[in-house]
Symmetry: C2
């Protein structure tokens, strides 16, 4: 709408409003005022309808480990169908199949057990799956039944044909119950709308035993109060990947249930006898135990809809209720759905691209997946549970959890530093709060729900913090942040750090992943040094810049690879460069890990024998054949997740394609990046070749599609690649815009002839952070010829 037209209309309406008011046509007056308000410009850029490009089903098949259910950006609730709820253990041993259900949903499955409220997106280990709700009809069943015979329990068959999935909305027909189930969410509230058939025997099952990566004793305690015939509150504590995790809930029904009950599956209930004064199985409102399933009964008319609001809180039942009242008053499911999708649309509009339809789907779905984690872990009243298990108030920030840092420090957090700087600022503050609450005085490693499971190697919080400090995103006390990083890096009792400090590497006999750890610590130490430099802390800088060179100590110049080293200084014998397990690495063999010196590729290339040899080595990596026996050791990915010996489905080599820039063959970076974009990301359920890992794979996709990538977070430089979009407009938080143009870009025109920033030719193969957030035009001139 042109501005003059808008102004003219405004003037006309003001006159009209005045007349209407004087004539006491109040309702018409009110209407016209509302109409006027609607005309006021709301945003500085017009929003496109981008939600349609989000296909949450991408990555739900094979190894993506994404979930299809409803969530809002960075929301605390992830309400999604679980197609099975296997036990972590079978006959006392680890049950390998449980791994497939990291996100609760497996595209290949034919049945749905129910809809639970918390899910990780793309992880390779798991937890959560809290509060599984399932609507049923007919004879009440309080066991889930089996996938082969869904009728044996409350689960139901379904087909993808009857499934409709959008960002913030999920719908499926439950065939066995003839019930249509719809899901949407606010930040802290999951909404269910169930359309029942006519039945005297309709039920809603609330399974308080169910969980992801479940096992016999995982449920520590459950407490439920049936407050009245539409409101239930309670909590559940589990002991899983999060050693201790308590989620409080408030569950509200749009229609009063006519009765309810529970079954307690606890093995021993010593004091059960004392409680026989009541029939506790039916209409008994004060429920507690370790393994409980509840149900609520309804009589439903044909196509009657029952809406359930299910709010979560990390702190208390009251907070869950307050969250519900604040975010989801009333019963208008469609309004909440529209709001959820509006939130997604606002986020997605931060980057408006021109590209093929498939690339748009890939891009916006990647953006969707990148904007799921970390998740909000603060109640509306600002309270949250800290690592010390105390209740804290988040003063001046939103507290986040779910830090899959070994993955996400690489590209997700740098991406947030560009597109969501305020949020990443809060994320850094959340990490520092975690540190303050830590008796160990450590920043998070792999942290979720007021715990640390210390999964994977490195202490990569320091990378996220350094990147935010160096790029000016963190607005808190940077000296305190530095201190937290230094203290974490000096926690001698953690994972070989003592040895690492003393010897400059971790002896292989003391640590199964001694080389990955040494390499990653060295990079993290470089991050600390960068932060120290910026803060003028020369003392800290000099200590950590020395530690940053420790990667040299595990490099075996004789074979030209990183290699496990023993305490006596000798390198491990019986070393196989193709193997990962027990070779000192995790999720990547030395072919991948030997390139892990992101902070000093120049020195790495030097020790590896110079640019030519390294270029050849990179070629080999992308073209070699990884025999099956070694592929099997590469966790979390499908065969499609590797290209030659390059493992894109895991993270350690995510920067490697960009290293060609450093050996004088940038066209190979451009080739490889385009190849990876094509081969590793598809707009299909099996479109992800490996775990999305809380958005890291997706962030890689977006960076690379836009033509640049943060090879070494903690530096303010990005390596240039080959943009796969035609144009992209980045609507930055500071109000500026960066327009990326890839002139002549096509599947064949993948090579970059030249790059112009605001008309000025860029030399070299990097672009600085300031250049991006200052906005303007970044023009890649593309060609089909190698330069």
């Amino acid at each position: 709408m042109k501005i003059f037209y808008r102004l003219g209309l405004l003037f006309f309406m003001v006159i009209m409003a005045g007349i209407l008011f004087l004539r006491r046509l109040r309702s018409l007056f009110l209407f016209s005022v509302l109409f006027l308000l609607a005309l006021l410009p709301k945003r500085t850029y017009a929003q496109q309808a981008l939600v349609k490009y989000v296909k949450p089903i991408i990555g739900t098949q094979k190894m993506g480990h994404t979930y299809p259910g409803a969530t809002v950006p960075f929301g605390a609730v992830q309400l999604s169908p679980d197609t099975d709820t296997l036990s972590y253990e079978m006959n006392g041993k680890y049950n390998g199949d449980v791994y497939k259900y990291c996100a609760g949903y497996k595209y290949e499955d034919k049945t749905i057990v129910g809809f639970s409220h918390t899910h990780f997106s793309g992880t390779g280990h798991s937890d959560l799956g809290d509060f599984l709700v399932m609507p049923t009809q007919g004879r009440l069943k309080l066991n889930p039944g089996t996938a082969d015979n869904p009728g044996s329990g409350f689960r139901s068959g379904f087909s993808h044909a009857n499934e409709h999935i959008e960002a913030g909305y999920y719908r499926v027909k439950l065939d066995d119950h003839q019930i249509m189930a719809e899901l949407t969410a606010t930040e802290r509230v999951g909404l269910h709308r169930y359309t029942f058939p006519k039945s005297e025997d309709s039920h809603v099952v609330l399974d308080l035993m169910s969980g992801i990566y479940n096992y016999e004793d995982k449920n520590v305690w459950t407490f439920v109060r049936v407050v009245n015939d539409t409101l239930v509150t309670g909590y559940r504590q589990t002991n899983g990947w999060a050693r201790t995790r308590t989620v409080y809930f408030a569950m509200s029904f749009s229609k009063p249930f006519k009765g309810y009950g529970q079954k307690n599956f606890d093995k021993t209930q010593v004091y059960k006898g004392f409680w026989r004064k009541f029939d506790q199985t039916r209409n008994f409102p004060d429920i507690a135990g370790k393994r409980i399933r509840m149900y609520f009964d309804f009589t439903t008319t044909d196509e009657e809809q029952v809406v359930i609001k299910f709010a979560l809180s990390p702190v208390s039942q009251e907070n869950a209720l307050e969250n519900m009242r604040s975010e989801a008053p009333g019963w208008d499911f469609d309004r909440i759905k529209a709001k959820a999708q509006a939130k997604w649309n606002t986020e997605l509009n931060k980057i408006v691209i021109d590209a093929s339809e498939d690339d748009k789907i890939n891009f916006y779905t990647a953006m969707y997946h990148a904007f799921i984690n970390p998740t909000n872990y603060t109640d509306v009243n600002t309270e949250y549970k800290g690592l010390d298990q105390n209740v804290h108030k988040a003063n001046g920030f939103t507290n986040y959890t779910t830090f899959s840092l070994w993955d996400t420090y690489r590209a997700l957090h740098p991406f947030l530093n560009i597109m969501q700087p305020s949020r990443n600022n809060d994320i850094v503050k959340s990490m520092l709060a975690h540190y303050d609450q830590s008796t160990l005085k450590m920043l998070p490693i792999w942290s979720h729900y007021a715990n640390d499971n210390w999964c994977m190697s490195g202490y990569h919080s320091v990378s996220v913090i350094a990147d935010a400090v160096v790029k000016g995103v963190y607005n808190g006390n940077a000296a305190r942040a530095l201190e937290a990083c230094v203290t974490t890096a000096n926690r001698r009792s953690y994972e070989g750090i003592g040895d690492y400090i003393d010897k400059g590497y971790i002896p292989a006999e003391n640590n199964r992943t001694s080389v990955s750890n040494t390499l990653e610590y060295a990079y993290d130490d470089w991050c600390i040094a960068q932060m120290a430099k910026k803060l003028g802390r020369e003392d800290v800088y000099s200590t950590f810049i020395k530690r940053a060179a420790n990667w040299r100590n595990v490099f075996d110049a004789r074979i030209g690879f990183m290699r496990p080293r023993l305490a006596d200084g000798s390198f491990k014998k019986d070393f196989d460069a193709l193997s990962t397990h027990d070779q000192g690495f995790i999720e990547g063999n030395t072919w991948n890990y030997s390139f892990f010196v992101p902070h000093d590729p120049k020195a790495m290339i030097e020790v590896m024998g110079g640019a030519k040899r390294v270029a050849a080595r990179l070629d080999s990596l992308f073209t070699m054949h990884l025999p099956d026996e070694f592929f099997a050791e590469t966790e979390d990915i499908t065969r499609e997740g590797i290209i030659g010996g390059y493992v894109h489905g895991n993270e350690p080599a995510h920067h490697v394609a960009y290293l060609y820039n450093w050996v004088g063959q940038p066209w190979k970076t451009q080739e490889r990046v385009r190849m990876i974009l094509k081969m590793q990301y598809k707009p299909t359920p099996d479109g992800l070749g490996g775990n999305d890992d809380c958005g890291q794979m997706s962030a890689w996709y977006m960076f690379s599609s836009l033509g640049f990538y943060p090879v070494s977070p903690g530096s303010d430089e990005y390596a240039l690649g080959s943009p796969a979009v035609n144009t992209a407009v980045l609507n930055l938080e500071n109000g500026k815009k960066l327009t990326i143009e890839a002139v002549n870009q096509s599947d064949k025109h993948i090579y970059v002839a030249k790059v112009l920033l605001n008309g000025r030719l860029l030399k070299g193969h990097t672009i600085r952070h300031a250049d991006i957030i200052d906005g303007g035009v970044l023009r890649f001139v593309m060609t089909d010829k190698i330069r």
Copy 2:
């Protein structure tokens, strides 16, 4: 000190102080000011040193179930030695021996396992025993060892010769470790002072698995933070008699420990592998699990004292810390001990008696035991955990827990209404808060630590509330209190109430204790009627006064006894009047329970065939022989706990001795009461013939010693008996005094010739509440002759 002398001295000191101040002898000036302050009269009555008469050891042998450790009046902490910590289960079955350890300590035992912070006083079922602390020396042992071979674990032999016990103070020498252990307490903090020998190898064990009535899965979760080398905080949740109970703690050491560690005894620790990044057994500060024992290491010099402050909270670690800082700053154990004893002395001085030394010991120890429960369940910042598991603030009252109401409604709460009306007012408010938080909308039955275990029969909260309302003690909204009572009494799903309302009695086929329940409900309903009458609620009165007559429905006129009745109206066949089990009764056979119409003895006597027959029946009760087979069914008492067939060790007949007043033989009331006082209460470890039951037995003692007893709480009348003191001065909260004189009282002069209230002859055998709290002189003229 005479007042003139005091004034003269005051004058002299003021002059002296002026001179000292002018001469700048500041320190001497300060001293004289302090001296002056000490001279100021502090209370309206001079306190006697009565603590010396308290012998906490009374009742620790056999069936008393009292504990000898340190507590302050109504304190949240009960820090006491545990001489064994048996499991509730042995080979999957109930372990009968555990019953002996209801209070953790058994006088007969030769070893002490440690000192834990929470204990019930005198109960017949149990729980608690939280946070067992044990100082040791020599090689570290992390199992308790056995009583036969204490050296096999951390427990230690001890002897009563080396034990010194006072109100608020406990000391024992731990022979195996050559450590002197001393205990004292504030309301919310337990203090330990351990005097170690010289050793490089001194330890303090913190056993977080141990508990009273423990069993394999009782520990639900434990969390501990070692904040620094003198401070540890955490919590433990258990699933026992209290279905769910979480106690938070803060533990502070006067001397830094040189190291610490833990052992986790959990059967399965699925994710243990993930935590191998640390050695979690030693100096690892972030501890959690289900079954944990910790230890702290010290090097001690000879006779070095280490003081431990151990604060509790029902709400949070921070609250525990705040409780500690507020109540026990600094490290002066002796000062805290003196304060604890001063608190006891203040309470004990509320009644100053003249009696024999033994009687003083019995009396003041009874008072001590009566002033332990209910216990404070509010943090210093007024927060507490409610029945709904939410955190509440106690606005304008102190929240109490540990309501052994089936016992304590009889005499303990009526006693508090006279001597602790403010506190009983708060207790009623606590019960109403419990009701407000109850999803069942029920007042407490047997409630502790934000739970109800619904133990025993009746809904006797209503008796406590009615008594407080009728006597003007409750100052809150009485209409709301009445509503809570009515709602509780109409909870049809509870223990036969539905049947009771419909039929006027509980059919025996539906309820194992159908007669006790019917009788007790009828009495409770009468209490509700009294309250309704006082509040002018004629509608409620008429409903409940009808229900109050329901005792008639289980009276079998043919045999003259209360008797189980079936749904069809017929009485149960195969009925044995001597038996208790499966006869419709609990803790008393029909010989005892048939007299349970405390609210209408007149009508009861009438249906039983008149005064003469009832008098004879009472005689039989006190003189009959109860064969062993039936004695065995009388729970919780020793053979000494019965007199004939009268079971004083249990509660149902506590009012029975006073019933002679109603059948025209008051001298027999006087005889029986004196006999019971003599036979059932002795100043020895085995001095209590049955469980003290949270002070009920003790309250009976005090009432009866003073010459009156509340036969029917909820009425404002007390039945007169035979005072066993020479004189007693009741220092009432309203500032008035009641002086009781028992002229010529002796072991032979047990009969009451006449009773004069303020010189006016009392007719009948009752005295009204108003007469007591208005103060004055209540003179019993005693004789050795039956009137």
